[in-house]
Symmetry: C2
DNA sequence: ATATATGCAAAGCTTTTGCCCTTTC
DNA sequence: GAAAGGGCAAAAGCTTTGCATATAT
């Protein structure tokens, strides 16, 4: 646990604005003028891996596109990133009205399932003690 | 409706893999060897605006981070991109089990509300006929 | 001491944009 | 023939990485 990592975590916890890496970098730099953006990125990775922070998901780097305009949901493989359609009815139709977000006009929600696809499950099967 | 746009849409509809722009570009290039990646991006934008395709959301370009590890949900302003916490209990606890995603081991879901935040609502207020 | 982390800068990747030419209506 | 769109290449923006140095345990 280095000074930099501690300050990054402190500053992240000190705000409720869900900052981007760059915003956090500027805050941290007020206290550690020599810190670099790369360090912030590296430490955010570590913190997320250690469950001390959360990355607000963006579902992987690249955008994907879908020509099927019927209402349906997606499931994304957390291992390989592939995206498949989820069969069946919309699961959460009654969900949105319950939101308590003061000041917001709530227009909808985005829902994406996560899982491990068939081929990634096969690839990660452990040899079993017999 | 140009040849390029039609082919892009045809190829997008021909697959169920939810391709990235680059994957689609390579498919389309088999039929239109001179097409450029920029054209694919521009047309995907148009198709999405025209509701002929969907962008599988990534919630805006940059990642955001959150130091609050308690289970809670977020709402994102679709105008300015800011992210706030949603107060109240988890809305969709009973949702995940209903998913029908053959082959997948479903590990969870990601849910993010969308809306227009207070200051963006103020900024877009229209002068009202009296 | 030795592994780990930092700072800095460069590279990587996806996406957007400018410019000029071509196609569409 | 005016308006929209395309091709190409450069730019932009976020994130990752290589490397030499410094810090932590």
């Amino acid at each position: 646990m280095t000074v930099q990592r501690r300050v990054i975590l402190e500053e992240l916890r000190a705000v409720t604005t869900h900052p981007t890496a760059d915003e956090l970098f500027h805050r941290v730099r007020d206290r550690l003028p020599n810190i670099s953006l790369g360090t912030v990125y590296r430490n955010l990775d570590v913190l997320v891996r250690n469950r001390q922070a959360r990355r607000i998901e963006n579902g992987g780097g690249q955008c994907r596109f879908d020509g099927d305009m019927d209402r349906h949901y997606h499931i994304r493989c957390v291992v390989c990133g592939r995206v498949d359609d989820v069969a069946g009815p919309a699961p959460g139709g009654a969900m949105a009205p319950h939101v308590d977000a003061p000041g917001y006009e709530v227009t909808g929600f985005r829902l994406e399932y996560e899982g491990i696809c068939a081929s990634c499950r096969k690839a990660t099967e452990r040899p079993r003690a017999h």
